[in-house]
């Protein structure tokens, strides 16, 4: 009964919660429409499928209480991106000494067909991404996958444009070197 009552307070029927239900429906539609691209971003930011899933859900849960305001923004996705980066930074600070595991790489990559060495390349890229410092990884992903401008990337990362430039430059150099090695190894 406790679970039932507790659940009911979030999505109640009758006189209570009409606005809450409408908000939930609207936010649910946003989640369904955006989850794929945000899951991809979360994966690039974390380098891990499970962490990506947790990061995405945590970010959605952060945004949900503010949805009536966020939905009016020109780009609600920008707000969610910022929340994801903020959460990711916060989590990373708490576990900065933890080492990356690469044990799941081959298992995950089995899902991808590999007619032209893309698995090897993706493995190398994922490894290289994981080796990047958090801010370099975020800068590269936001600039070169999300296609954000330097100014927008700086706003999302809460840093200066100069910091974005230097982090992107260093991150790119590392990734390109890793990709070059992968191509060399595959050929």
């Amino acid at each position: 009964m406790y679970e039932h009552m507790s659940e009911a307070m979030i999505g109640p029927a009758g006189v209570l919660g009409d606005s809450t239900r409408a908000k939930a429906d609207d936010f649910g539609a946003y989640v369904r429409a955006s989850e794929r691209r945000h899951k991809r971003l979360a994966f690039l930011l974390t380098g891990d499928l499970h962490e990506a899933e947790d990061l995405l859900q945590a970010a959605y849960a952060k945004v949900y209480p503010h949805w009536s305001k966020v939905r009016t923004y020109d780009v609600p996705d920008a707000y969610l991106r910022r929340v994801m980066l903020s959460l990711r930074t916060s989590w990373w600070r708490r576990s900065r000494n933890r080492e990356w595991s690469v044990a799941d790489l081959s298992e995950n990559s089995n899902h991808i067909a590999d007619p032209a060495g893309t698995v090897i390349e993706s493995q190398a890229l994922l490894l290289a991404l994981r080796q990047l410092p958090e801010r370099q990884r975020a800068a590269v992903v936001l600039r070169h996958w999300c296609d954000l401008s330097e100014a927008d990337t700086a706003a999302a990362m809460r840093c200066s444009v100069g910091t974005v430039k230097s982090n992107t430059s260093k991150g790119l150099a590392h990734l390109r070197a890793a990709l070059g090695q992968a191509e060399g190894g595959a050929s």
Binding site: M1, Y2, M5, S6, A8, M9, I10, G11, P12, A13, G14, V15, L16, G17, S19, T20, K23, A24, F27, G28, V31, E35, K39, R40, L41, F43, L44, L49, A52, Q57, A58, Y60, A61, K62, Y64, P65, H66, W67, S68, K69, V70, T72, Y79, R82, S86, N108, S109, I112, E121, S122, L125, L126, L129, V141, H144, W145, D147, R158, L172, L175
Partner: protein
């Protein structure tokens, strides 16, 4: 996507993200709602009877404000002269600051300015401590100068050496502490400085309760604190928001009972979270709602349907009205059958609605049910 589409790295990243698509999940909303609910229920729901409120008062923790900072090394340890200053500064009461710092590094040699002879010393040439621009302490190694070349000598020096450095400050508020400790690097005196800001509170306060939430919806959590005065003769308690942009907004609470913070709730669906504080004394508890503006915390007026002032109260006896604060908002309720012993039991409930800066209780009552889970807060919901 233009230029990035021609970037091989973009193509590679995009292929890589395909791995994320292989990990399918179902409907995300139940888990999202659960996470929101768990966050909100962390502090418990319900403005409960006074005894329970008093039980959660908890022990005070001395106010700890951002006060420690370590400067990055000037150069690389082991190869060239470098130095790092770590400053710790804490408020001591309302009108003093306690300061200590450590200087670590490797300097080149010093020489006696008069004779030119080598001096058996490694460390900063001098140290100065400034509070709000005034030098309050310092040390000087006398007439020594930097000797070009020479071996690197490591050092770690802690200050103050003898007695604690406790410095009076003129008024409560932010105070800037600067430590200057120039050191020798191959014949040159290199400036090395570290700065911290410490905040002293009027009368001195203890943090009684604290939570983190994104109050203004900027994507980053803000800190909400409930502060008790350390001086028992001072009655005002403070509600404070430390915004993620490092600004602070404070309000005085209209009571001096021991209180606690409820998880903020968006009562008017405007996207900003409202702050809720409750406190109890004797057999009564009361709650207050605050609007968190960027530059002020505004206490919400609470009125009945006719516009008469009506507090958010809970009384200890079973026939009385109770106030329930939860994710769904604020409700007042009372048992329809005051002798009920089986729960969930039906109650007469009236919802409070926030518009502007006024929280208004509905005129009409609806029937809901209250339950008392054995290991959780009381729950109010549909029967």
């Amino acid at each position: 996507m233009n230029t990035q589409q021609r970037d091989p790295l973009f193509e590679s990243l995009d292929r890589l993200t395909g791995m994320a698509d292989t990990h399918l999940v179902g409907d995300r909303m139940p888990d999202i709602q659960r996470r929101v609910r768990v966050a909100r229920q962390r502090k418990g729901a319900g403005l409960v009877a006074a005894a329970a409120v008093l039980a959660v008062g908890g022990s005070g923790v001395w106010q700890t404000l951002p006060s420690e900072r370590t400067a990055p090394p000037v150069t690389n340890p082991g190869t060239t002269p470098w130095q790092q200053i770590t400053v710790n500064a804490e408020p001591e009461g309302s009108d003093h600051v306690r300061i200590s710092f450590t200087v670590t590094g490797e300097s080149t040699a010093y020489a006696d300015m008069g004779t030119g002879d080598p001096v058996d010393y490694a460390g900063p040439r001098s140290t100065d401590v400034l509070v709000d621009g005034k030098v309050v302490a310092g040390s000087d190694r006398g007439a020594i100068s930097c000797e070009p070349g020479g071996e690197l000598t490591p050092y770690t020096m802690k200050f103050p050496v003898d007695e604690p450095l406790v410095v009076p400050v003129s008024s409560p508020g932010e105070h800037t502490i600067v430590v200057n400790a120039p050191y020798c690097a191959d014949g040159d005196l290199v400036e090395s400085t570290q700065t911290v800001v410490v905040t002293t509170e009027a009368a001195g306060f203890t943090t009684a309760d604290q939570l983190e939430a994104d109050i203004d919806g900027d994507g980053t959590d803000d800190v909400v604190e409930l502060l008790y005065p350390k001086d028992v003769t001072v009655e005002d308690q403070l509600l404070r928001v430390i915004w993620s942009r490092d600004e602070t907004t404070t309000a005085t609470l209209p009571q001096n009972w021991e209180g606690y913070l409820h998880d903020p709730v968006d009562l008017d669906s405007d996207g900003d979270l409202e702050l809720i504080v409750s406190a109890g004394g004797g057999d009564m508890a009361e709650g207050w709602v605050f609007l968190a503006h960027p530059d002020s915390l505004e206490r919400v007026k609470t009125v009945d349907a006719a516009g008469n002032e009506l507090s958010l109260l809970s009384y200890g006896e079973p026939t009385a009205w109770q106030t329930w604060l939860g994710a769904e908002g604020v409700h007042s309720y009372r048992l329809i059958d005051p002798t009920a012993t089986q729960f969930p039991a039906p109650v007469e409930a009236r919802k409070w609605s926030l518009a502007g800066n006024t929280l208004t209780q509905s005129e009409k009552s609806v029937t809901m049910c209250v339950s008392f889970p054995p290991h959780g807060p009381r729950m109010l919901g549909p029967c």
